[in-house]
Amino acid sequence: MRELKYADALREALAEEMRRDERVFCYGEDVELGYSFTVCKGLIDEFGPERVKDTPICEQTIVGLAVGAAMMGMRPVPEIQFCDLLPMCMDQLCNSAAKLRYMSGGQITLPLVVRSPGGKWGRFAAQHSQTLDAWFMNVPGLKVAVPATPYDAKGLLKTAIRDESPVLFIERKLLYQIPGPVPEEEYLVPFGEAKIYGDGKDLTIVAVGRMVSESLKAAERLSKEGIQATVLDPRTLVPLDTQAILNSVRQTHRVVIVEEGPKRGGVGGEIAAVIAEEILDELDAPIRRVAALDTPIPFCGILEDYVLPDELKIAEAARNLMSF
């Protein structure tokens, strides 16, 4: 199968959907030239300045405009350059986009997709390195997708654009230039369907976003030590494939949950709670969370690495569980 980078796979999804449906359009800061992560680069050549548009540096406007356009029947795909800037448009996203379909009794649909990259880029400091997935899991009315591979990025974005509800599509800066197999023919990746890597019987590692590849590396290390791990990527946090998670833990009886965001109030806490509520009796060891420390992300590279989870920390947590 041919290989595409994550950013290129996303661009292909955008282009295919814009060709398929002329109501789809994308815009944001520096989108015409395709800064800063190249996803929209070159789209303007095919679709013109009407459908690929730069905006002022004003996130409220970007998402506010999407809400209005979606209400009027368009399918906007705005980009917020860093997910750290999503708090700027919290009201538009959480009060307008997430609520209007419900409050209008379904008279209004809001088929919009806000794309935004999260996570580490490497020495981008506390305001440009955050992972805020957990914030938006807590907003009824929003769907949240976090693709981990080029294949999932493309398939999930196409699904998101066709969805009638607002979707927050959180990408990962460090994944943009990572290649992976992407088929030539068209495909969709459904929401709420986890992807499972391997069938290790000793423990389940549930991982989100960039932590999926770190977990796969950790699983490889562990397998050399005789510990067989299954890695499970929920792919969308809302809706969450709790059945897949529970089924896997029923097989392995041990679980480590990995996320790039801070541990306190995180995605891992939510998943851990679901497991404990549903299948406590299947656990042979405590649930472990591997996540960022509860501090701002440091600028200093050494400290940044110290704060963020990685394959070594994941492997260590797994070993600890095996002997617990």
Binding site: L280, D281, L283, D284, A285, S323, F324
Partner: protein, 403 residues
């Protein structure tokens, strides 16, 4: 006014005490401060004093019974005093009352009635508990292999396998006598198994020329002053002193591992392993690095005597930061030890005996002692341990510097 006598908390690991014997009976007069009963804990036997004067009005526990810390065991009062009958209730009755409360509370919250009784303080994984419930296994007969003796699925499975294929009695030797483990034996078993399992040990070995040390001991008469109390210095005192001084230079060996940090300890308290019929016990000499040899000798003598009588205090046993184990009185030339948790090092000392050695190209006969230092590799690497052992060797070979 009636006064309750309760089981005191003698150390943070203590949860229950066994009643050994009563020194008074119901109706006996007793003074405040007089010993009323003796109890046995994990570590020591201890006499409980009466908190008040008067008459023993009630005794609420029999010898052999195990009573939790804080549990009421006797009532002291005036001879004719009217006492609230509730005070005479035995500890078991209190327990039943206490258990009734959560049961009714759980009904309110809708939990299933008839849920299994609590398993006490044993740690059990939820899945292990479920499997045991399904298969009708009594978890009290399963040994846990997880942290802190936690029972995991693997332990239940092992237990099940053991059940299915019992050793044929024709092959296994017949049991002549069953010796139930005492609390002390159980504690030793549990702590040392945990130490051996959790702390990666390794040993460094050296030999020390004891010529100067023996001369030093022979030349010093027993000290008759208050400081010495007429005690004769022994090799053990030298070992303790030299070890203590060298621990000052190598604080990592006077440390303990707590989760993800190493705690260097302020005091240098050197423990000396004492063999008793009931088991090994390690009383320690506090701040041994700051004490003169005579003080160490006097304390060592006292501690060993009291250890033999079972009269050590908990702090004398628990305060140790490093252990010295000497089997020199036997014909043991060399041995290694298991760490005394949570300590980081233990020095094992064999017999001092005459042996040919090479000095300046000549074979000469010298009193030699072989010793091994076991250390926890999680805390300390070999070079640090080697430096310490070198220091101990130098100290013993130049004993006059200790005065």
């Amino acid at each position: 006014m009636a006064t309750e006598v309760t089981i005191p908390n003698l150390g943070y690991t203590m949860t229950v005490a066994k009643i050994l014997k009563w020194l008074k009976s119901v109706g006996d007069p007793i003074k405040a401060g007089e010993i009323l009963l003796e109890i046995e804990t994990d570590k020591v036997n201890y006499g409980i004093e009466s908190p008040a004067g008067g008459v023993v009005r009630a005794i609420l526990a029999e010898p052999g019974e195990e009573i939790p810390v804080g549990g009421r065991v006797a009532i002291i009062g005036e001879e004719k005093e009217e006492i609230d009958p509730r005070l005479f209730q035995k500890i078991e009755k209190e327990k039943t009352v206490a258990q009734a409360v959560p049961a009714s509370a759980s009904r309110e919250t809708g939990a299933t009635a008839g849920s299994p009784p609590p398993e006490g303080r044993r740690l059990i994984s939820p899945l292990a508990r479920k499997i045991a419930r399904d298969k009708g296994i009594d978890l009290s007969s399963v040994t846990g292999s997880g942290h802190g003796g936690r029972i995991r699925v693997v332990d239940v499975e092992k237990f099940l396998v053991g059940k299915k294929e019992p050793l044929s009695s024709a092959q296994s030797p017949e049991v002549a006598e069953m010796i139930p483990m005492t609390r002390m034996r159980r504690l030793i078993a549990q702590r040392l198994a945990q130490s051996f399992h959790d702390a990666p040990h390794f040993n460094l070995c050296t030999e020390v020329d004891m010529q100067e040390a023996l001369r030093f001991l022979n030349e010093l008469p027993p000290k008759k002053t208050a400081e010495g109390g007429g005690v004769k210095l022994s090799l053990n005192d030298l070992f303790i002193k030299v070890v203590a001084l060298n621990l000052r230079d190598v604080p990592l060996l006077n440390a303990r591992l707590k989760e993800d940090r190493i705690e260097l300890l302020k005091e240098i308290n050197v423990g000396l392993a004492v063999a008793l019929d009931e088991g090994l016990i390690v009383p320690s000499i506090a701040k041994a690095d700051q004490k003169r040899l005579w003080e160490i000798a006097r304390e060592r003598k006292e501690l060993v005597e009291r250890a033999r009588e079972g009269r050590l205090s908990l702090s004398e046993i628990e305060r140790g930061t490093f252990t010295v184990s000497n089997l020199g009185m036997y014909d043991i030339v060399f041995f290694t030890s298991i760490l005394n948790p949570p300590q980081t090092g233990i020095l094992s000392i064999g017999k001092t005996y005459d042996r040919p050695v090479v000095r300046k190209g000549e074979i000469v006969i010298r009193p030699i002692v072989e010793m091994s230092l076991a250390i926890d590799h999680r805390v300390v690497d070999g070079a640090v341990g080697a430096g310490f052992l070198q220091g101990v060797k130098n100290g013993l070979e130049n004993p006059y510097a200790l005065l």
